[in-house]
């Protein structure tokens, strides 16, 4: 209990210190029971045996992880051979997520830079313009993209009308469609952190670089980018991680040939063909990958400290 010292800025304080335990109880209760506990239970389930119609039998085993990585099982007969089926799905998801991140970066960086260098009167308008689509339901946005890109859809129709192509571009159910879908889903997450970083950038540095004979693109590469690096990294993470576990874009736009982790996991819990422990195991592997990325990032940030 008690009035400890005031920390940080003027708004950090201990006015309600006595009540803080009570104030925290609801969030701990709700989140502890419905987020923390479920993740723990999921870990447990990944080590159980699958039940025929979904669900589990309480019989501990490594079968789920086993099935994921190996052909005939680590504990089966013969030498275990690394099975590529599921690993390749994960690998493809990483690939797709990576490409989507690069696409977002290539388009998102110039956009963020451009908006951040607008006069302050119009700047908020531009930010608004970029973020409004995000407020629309992700499902709706993905469906819209699907509608647009279909063989008989408006995009192909327009291109054929104008005479640019003769046969419809087959975009749906390709990697490209999934890329576009992921890009479309998470672009604002790339733009906003970069925008914030460029806004804080001191443009006198660019003047100094030009004064010292650097061309504009050299200035971008050697001076601006290092300065806004944290924003760029934040943007990449915010696009890569959700893309990795995405379900809607691959499912609606990619079709059966472009299976990603999200679809793989979802399949395990649908109907009677599912394998709950396997789904739980796959989720654990996905979660671990994400946690590792986040841990590397936060340790890098702590090491770099206050650089500027």
């Amino acid at each position: 209990m008690a009035g400890g010292a005031v920390s940080g800025g003027s708004a950090a304080s201990d006015t309600y210190a006595e009540a803080r335990q009570w104030l925290l109880v609801p969030s701990w209760l709700v989140l502890g029971i419905f987020v923390l506990a479920p993740v723990c239970v999921m870990v447990i389930y990944s080590f159980l045996t699958k039940e025929f119609r979904g669900g589990v039998i309480w019989d501990p085993t490594l079968a789920a992880y086993d099935q994921f990585f190996f052909d005939r099982g680590l504990f089966g007969d013969g030498d275990p051979k690394l099975q590529w089926t599921y690993i390749s799905i994960f690998w493809r998801s990483i690939w797709q997520a990576g490409l989507a991140t690069i696409l977002s970066l290539l388009i998102g960086f110039p956009t963020a830079y451009y908006i951040a260098t607008r006069p302050s009167s119009t700047r908020t308008l531009w930010v608004f313009l970029i973020t409004i689509p995000y407020w629309v339901n992700l499902l709706i946005r993905t469906v819209s993209m699907k509608f647009l890109l279909r063989d008989e859809g408006p995009l192909n129709g327009f291109l054929m009308n104008v005479g640019l192509i003769n046969d419809p571009l087959h975009i749906i159910n390709t990697n490209l469609a999934v890329q576009l879908g992921l890009f479309y889903s998470y672009l604002p997450f790339m733009v906003l952190p970069i925008y914030a970083a460029v806004e804080r950038y001191n443009f006198t540095l660019s003047e100094a670089a030009a004064d010292l004979y650097a061309t504009k693109w050299t200035t971008l590469r050697r001076i601006l980018l290092p300065a806004v690096k944290p924003g760029v990294i934040a943007g990449c993470i915010l696009v890569f991680v959700p893309s990795l576990g995405a379900f809607l874009a691959p499912d609606l736009l990619g079709g059966a040939k472009n299976f990603m982790i999200g679809s793989l996991i979802e399949e395990q819990f649908k109907g009677n063909a599912g394998n709950w422990p396997f789904g739980a195991a796959a989720s654990m592997i996905l979660l671990s990958m994400v946690m590792i990325i986040l841990l590397i990032l936060s340790s890098q940030r702590r090491r770099a400290g206050v650089d500027q």
């Binding site: 006198t204 010292l212 004979y213 290092p226 300065a227 650089d307």
Partner: protein, 363 residues
């Protein structure tokens, strides 16, 4: 080549407009090679704009800028052989001091090793060799300022532009840097174009000063000339302290004007162009060029009453009400001789001006 000094930067009839607003009006001046040249004026007078136009960060609306005879207004900043020391230093935060200083050389095509070598020499010049591997954030303001200077000197520019580089430093450091800058300019022989609003700083460091106000050039000359012979009210007021009051010209004989101050008191001084008999003109006289006395002297003396004596350490400032005329300020040195001349408030006093001290002003 003629034996007149070479002109490093020639500004000819330059105008700068933003839409309807004219920020620089017909600026023409020539800056000589190996000169310490200062642009002096209050905030908003256009001096920084002019500097940025020479550097290449602002367009020239009208007129031309020539660098050693070549027209440069069409060149982008990274193609001009001039370098700038920025007001907030603009040191690249993610590079070491050595990398910062060597940057311009790298951009010009030298190898990393060559650039580093030259950067090392520059750091020696500003006595910061020990800090070569540090990052700018680890340096004090004064040290950052010297790094910025070294960085701008490293590519051996023909002209160095300095945009109020000392304004962020405290007084003592600023005075030390003024001496050091002057020294470096003499040693390197590079033309320095220095921008400041501090008239004392300008007087201390410059070979020549261009006084600017509201986008126009007010006066151009050596520090002594500007101080002793201000051309107009603005310059008289801006540089140093002065007494300014209106007089009417009674008679002009042989280039000397006899002026009426008020209350029947008169004084005589050099006439200037544009002054006609019967006109009212402003007159400027520096406080330290007047002598207080208990009695009238041989020359012209003005009579008045002392109202106050203010002790400010090195000097004593005396306020005097001239009979029938303006109130004036006189400054006397706080020496034995000076103190003997002091008169108690309320008592009458005679004021004599040194020869040539009173200046009639053109406007």
């Amino acid at each position: 080549m003629d034996d007149a000094a070479k002109i490093a930067v020639d500004v000819r009839d330059v105008y700068k407009r933003y839409g309807d607003v004219t920020v620089l009006h017909q600026i023409s001046l020539a800056i000589y090679d190996n000169e310490f040249f200062t642009l002096l004026g209050p905030s908003g007078c256009g001096k920084t704009t002019l500097l940025r136009m020479i550097a290449g960060f602002e367009d020239v609306s009208q007129g031309g800028i020539y660098l050693f005879g070549d027209e440069i207004k069409a060149l982008p900043p990274h193609k001009r052989p001039v370098n700038t020391v920025f007001q907030n230093y603009a040191l690249f935060p993610h590079m070491t001091v050595l990398e910062n200083v060597g940057f311009g050389l790298e951009m010009k095509g030298r190898s990393r090793a060559e650039a580093a070598k030259r950067a090392g020499e520059m750091l020696e010049l500003v006595q910061l060799s020990k800090f070569a591997k540090r990052k700018p954030a680890q340096l004090s303001g004064g040290q950052q300022q010297r790094v910025a200077l070294a960085r701008a000197l490293a590519p051996s520019p023909k002209v160095l532009l300095l945009d109020e580089p000392l304004s962020a430093l405290d007084l003592k450091l600023r005075k030390a840097m003024q001496i050091e800058l002057k020294h470096i300019q003499r040693e390197t022989g590079i033309t320095f174009i220095f921008v400041t609003h501090d008239q004392e700083e300008a007087l201390t460091m410059s070979d020549r000063i261009a006084v600017m106000s509201a986008g126009e050039l007010q006066q151009l000359g050596a520090p002594r000339d500007i101080y002793e012979y201000p051309r107009n009210m603005f310059v008289a007021n801006f540089i140093g302290d002065t007494n300014l009051f209106e007089v009417s010209v009674n008679k002009i004989t042989n280039g000397r004007a006899q002026c009426h101050i008020g209350g029947g008191q008169e004084l005589t001084t050099d006439a200037v162009d544009g002054v006609a008999v019967g006109s009212k003109v402003n007159l400027s006289v520096r406080p330290e060029r007047m002598i207080l006395s208990h009695q009238s002297s041989d020359g012209e003396s003005l009579k008045g009453t002392v109202t106050e004596n203010i002790f400010i350490g090195t000097d004593i400032t005396t306020l005097v009400d001239l009979d029938g005329g303006p109130k004036i300020t006189i400054r006397t040195s706080n020496t034995e001789r000076g103190n003997k001349r002091l008169i108690e408030p309320g008592n009458p006093a005679f004021v004599t001006m040194e020869a040539g001290a009173a200046r009639l002003l053109a406007d």
